[in-house]
Amino acid sequence: MITHLWINNEEAVAIILFGIGFTMLLFQKNLLKKLIGMNIMDTGTFLFLASMGYIEGRRPPIVENGVLERSAYINPVPAGLVLTGIVVSVSVTAIMLSLTVRLYKRYHTLDIDEMYERSKHAAEDR
């Protein structure tokens, strides 16, 4: 398993990044740090995709000099998937940041547990 992991080292690093982001998103109390974790998680997935499509010694998938052989270019599919993933990640980050802004204005803290604690005392929320 270790030798295989060594061959697939880039994918392995991507998975570890994914795991770090996942754990941060789950356990950080601070909303901003949670968001950073989410972005690390997404980046890990993109790295995984990018390294999956990479083939040694080949060029990026843009036709040059009319060469139409598959063996000249790397796999274009993961690149397309990464593009979609990035757009989704940007959108989600924007929404989460604006939620954070609203919550900060309401509770004056970024700690999510503290927010729950304060929401119990707010009259409006019952």
């Binding site: 998975i15 754990t23 998938p61 843009i62 802004v101």
Partner: protein, 265 residues
């Protein structure tokens, strides 16, 4: 008691996360080797690369793939950004209801802060030099999506960034003279509606075996790739508007100049 439970819960959760990473690493070790071609993906890639130029007219194989072969995914993707814009408007846009709560200390919007920033001389000078280049570069990337790396999303993001620098250096008042909320709404609507209907037309003709009247153009030239160029422009417009919309909403709680609330101050 509760603290002990919390600690126990955290311990279990950390173990679960480590387990997840371990299992994933195991899976990775069994995957096809890094840096070599995955024999199972050959069938699909062969057509994208070999016939892509002829079937889509795009030199950039990735652009041909995402805007022609797998265009349905990209149609959804451009609406993801639009959905995010709507959500941010709901969250941060000022309205009568959340303004009323402001007096209970619920929603405090800083009206003054963004007027001040516009006086920065360095920012203005850099803006004068940088902005024309940025807009040109954005347009270049937008228009060459079918020929080289780039396309709607990247070009639109650069233009959106240029708009943001513009607003930061010269103040929102300058941007508001041209780029009002109405313009943003209109551009977004026209672009997305065009996208939906153009792609709907292609899906419809393709599935029913009808002839598709979109000219493919000559590969390698700017006007090539059939619908890819117009779609890239549409996507670029949406992305630029959305980026600027995010910035404006975060800074002042509205996209254009907000008459109802600003003038009361």
């Amino acid at each position: 008691m509760k603290k002990a439970f919390h600690r126990f819960y955290n311990l279990i959760a950390v173990i679960c996360c480590l387990l997840l990473i371990g299992v994933l690493l195991y899976a990775v070790s069994m995957l096809p080797h890094y840096g070599q071609e995955n024999p199972r993906s050959v069938e699909v890639v062969e057509r994208y690369v070999h016939d892509g130029l002829e079937e889509t007219g795009a030199t950039n194989i990735v652009a041909g793939m995402i805007l022609d072969y797998r265009a349905f995914d990209t149609l959804g993707e451009s609406h993801v950004l639009f959905t995010a814009l709507i959500c941010v408007i709901i969250l941060l846009g000022k309205d009568v209801k959340n303004m009323r709560r402001e007096y209970d200390g619920y929603y405090t919007v800083e009206y003054e802060s963004y007027h001040k920033l516009a006086d920065d001389k360095i920012l203005r000078l850099v803006g004068y030099i940088l902005l024309p280049c940025l807009f040109l570069f954005g347009i270049y990337i937008l228009l060459n999506g079918q020929l080289s790396p780039g396309g709607g999303f990247s070009g639109g993001a650069i233009m959106g960034a240029a708009l943001i620098i513009f607003a930061a250096a010269f103040g929102f008042e300058t941007v508001d003279k041209v780029f009002t909320e109405k313009v943003l709404k209109g551009v977004t609507f026209v672009s997305l509606a065009f996208y939906s209907f153009a792609k709907g037309y292609v899906f419809f003709t393709g599935a029913n075996g009808l002839e598709n009247h979109v000219p493919k153009g000559e590969p390698g030239m700017i006007l090539s790739g059939g619908l890819i160029l117009p779609l890239d422009i549409a996507v670029g417009m949406v992305v630029a508007c959305t980026m600027y919309g995010f910035y404006s909403l975060f800074r002042r709680g509205s996209i254009g100049h907000d008459h109802t609330f600003m003038d009361q101050q």
